[in-house]
């Protein structure tokens, strides 16, 4: 850029139609968020969703593979699983916390994944609406039920 700013365009490119007294019209950036922007794209929700999938995914690799190792591989595999085994593990706040975190992260990770799948394949607005509402209802129900079970577990229920 030359120090001479009377023209916005280099001489090579031709004569500019605009100068300081006669500025070029402002063109709005095509993706600028305005009042007309649909509500769903006014926030960075999808960015945070994308980030959440990756962060929760890495944590879930540890939580879920650890869970599989304990439930299906170590100490006789699935054969030893029963009420007494559950009672033994949930006596420890560490495993309660492990299972609670795993429940919440896995359900939210899975729900967001299914939301993406619905968005991709369900084309009619009504179908999308109902499928997603069904998904959200099932997710809230499952997360709350699981949380309740972990916190109210009673080894002496009988």
């Amino acid at each position: 850029m030359s120090a001479d700013t009377s023209s916005a365009v280099d001489p090579v490119e031709g004569v500019s139609l605009y100068d300081v007294d006669n500025p070029a019209p402002v063109i709005e950036p095509p993706r600028k968020r305005t009042k007309k922007t649909p509500k769903s794209t006014r926030t960075n929700f999808e960015l945070y969703g994308w980030l959440f999938m990756r962060l929760s995914g890495v944590v879930l690799v540890v939580l879920v593979l650890g869970h599989l190792l304990i439930q299906l591989v170590l100490d006789g595999g699935v054969s030893k699983v029963g009420f007494a085994f559950v009672a033994g593990r949930w006596a420890s706040p560490f495993w309660q916390g492990w299972d609670l975190l795993m429940l919440w992260l896995a359900m939210l990770h899975g729900a967001n994944g299914l939301r993406t799948v619905i968005n991709d394949y369900a084309e009619r607005p009504k179908t999308r609406f109902w499928l997603k509402n069904l998904l959200y209802a099932a997710t809230v129900f499952t997360v709350l039920l699981g949380t309740l079970v972990i916190f109210t577990f009673d080894p002496n229920i009988r």
């Binding site: 990756r54 890495v58 879920v64 593979l65 599989l68 699935v78 009420f83 899975g110 079970v149």
Partner: protein, 126 residues
């Protein structure tokens, strides 16, 4: 199929398809799994009855399938993270997929005895 979903095929597309399919399967299992675990709040007998079906040979085969889906989704998920956050990730995405598949085969071989052993003993005697 909706318009505009035709992709370029090969490793990138097929790993993406497998990631979706395994993800949906795992989510449906998770839903059922929370429900069956919730039976510990009903009675020890109700829980043990349902878990007994999990120990039958046919469900053991399904458990092996679940392990296969989870291991692929976990390993390929780490590959996706590497593609997105590692500067050389996109360049090595194919090599990383073959690494994922190699580790997956080794782990699946290692899971045969722990997951299916009890079913084999029940079917063929120990």
């Amino acid at each position: 199929m909706p318009a505009g979903t035709l992709y370029r095929g090969r490793e990138g597309m097929w790993s993406w398809v497998a990631h979706r399919v395994t993800g949906v399967l795992i989510f449906f299992f998770l839903f059922v799994h929370v429900l069956d675990t919730a039976l510990v709040r009903v009675s020890p007998e109700a829980y043990d009855d349902v878990v007994a079906t999990y120990k039958t040979p046919i469900v053991a085969v399904m458990e092996y399938g679940l392990v296969a889906a989870i291991l692929f989704h976990a390993l390929n998920g780490l590959r996706v993270v590497a593609v997105d956050f590692w500067s050389k990730g996109p360049k090595y995405q194919k090599q990383m997929l073959w690494t994922v598949m190699s580790i997956w085969i080794v782990l699946m071989a290692g899971a045969i005895y722990p997951v299916l052993g009890h079913a084999a003993r029940e079917l063929f005697g120990s």
